[in-house]
């Protein structure tokens, strides 16, 4: 049998020997509930190389599932983080896109209003002569155009607050 390595002497051994000195620190553990020192027992050199880190002793059967539960929580947390980050990015992108659309639609609306008003006064003061039916159609068409643009803005640029995020979170 290989000689036990002193580094692997455990808290248990230490306690039984009346010593409370902890041994050298181990590698950084990636599990939150893992202790930072080896518990007190001895392993051969060959076996020692196979052990990267050792956690706290199990004192009841419920603790057998602890790691699985922690992993589950960690996985859910990671998924949640990914969803929230993606959702935030998507929302920002969409908002920027809507802002761009809104800007150009408002410019179009303003232009339309200026044009229709200008045409109205030009026709009214006789600077511009058109057939009555042409003027009527023009004014009514622009009115519908403005209404349609407003409809687009209200419906698509300011959609109802959706439950998409909540549905996504429910899946996690």
């Amino acid at each position: 049998m290989d000689q036990p390595n002193s580094v692997f002497e455990t808290v248990m051994s230490d306690t039984s020997k009346g010593s409370t000195q902890s041994k050298e620190k181990e590698k950084e553990f990636d599990s939150g509930h893992m202790s930072e020192t080896k518990p007190g027992f001895t392993l051969s050199t060959e076996s020692k190389e196979k052990v990267l880190s050792i956690g706290e002793p199990l004192t009841n059967s419920g603790q057998i599932d602890d790691y699985e539960r922690l992993e589950g929580i960690r996985n859910r947390s990671q998924k949640l983080q990914i969803i929230l980050t993606t959702w935030e990015t998507q929302q920002t992108e969409e908002r920027n896109l809507r802002k761009t659309y809104a800007k150009w639609l408002l410019i179009a609306l303003f232009t339309q209003i200026v044009l229709i008003n200008a045409a109205f006064f030009l026709i009214g003061f006789g600077f511009m002569v058109v057939e009555r039916w042409v003027a009527t159609i023009f004014i009514v068409a622009v009115f519908f155009e403005i209404s349609a643009l407003l409809l687009v803005i209200v419906n698509y640029l300011f959609p109802k607050v959706g439950s998409e995020l909540i549905k996504l979170l429910e899946k996690v």
Binding site: K50, S53, P57, T59, Y67
Partner: protein, 180 residues
């Protein structure tokens, strides 16, 4: 792969292993399901720790130095696997590891049920089979399995959940007990 030092495989029949497991449960007044493995281990002086191994396929490790017996189980295994690993290592503790030494078990070792011939040439293989038989008997005591088998109308999933073992392990056990 199974590294073992200080372990010996005794000539034991399956009935003897079953009896040994049942005696341990009865001695500790733990003949009920789900079996409290940590209590059995701790009462027999075996400390159990979650551990991270350098190889993912290592399921558990048992080390004995005098009265100091320690079991390391792979922290990333799911709970049913972990429970079986603990029961398996307890099998080594009660049946094989009488001197100072250690046993390292991998996933493969936990699936050695096929051959039950005690005159098998390979002692390591025989030891793993015995440890698995012990683990099955400890986690799924025959009397309780028979009782609940009828109560659950032979529902494998329900039985596995009752005994907190995998369906695979329960399937093996039912087959071993001649219930399916």
């Amino acid at each position: 792969m199974s590294v073992s030092k200080g372990a010996v495989a005794a000539k034991l029949t399956r009935e003897e292993i079953e009896k040994k497991a049942a005696d341990i449960l009865l001695a500790h007044n733990l003949y009920s399901i789900p079996v409290d493995l940590v209590a059995i281990a701790n009462r027999n002086g075996v400390g159990i720790y979650n551990a991270k191994f350098s190889e993912d396929n290592i399921s558990a490790m048992l080390s004995k130095r005098g009265d100091n017996v320690t079991m390391l189980v792979n922290q990333s295994d799911y709970s049913n696997r972990k429970r079986f690993s603990i029961a398996h290592e307890l099998g080594h503790h009660f049946l094989h590891l009488f001197e100072d030494g250690e046993i390292i078990d991998t996933e493969v070792d936990l699936f050695r049920f096929e051959s039950n011939t005690l005159d098998a040439g390979n002692e390591k293989r025989l030891r793993e089979i015995q440890a698995n038989q012990f683990a099955a008997a400890l986690l799924m005591p025959s009397e309780l399995v028979r009782k609940y088998f009828h109560e659950t109308t032979s529902d494998l999933t329900a039985l596995a959940q009752l005994f907190t073992v995998s369906e695979e392990a329960m399937g093996y056990r039912l087959n071993q007990l001649g219930l399916v």
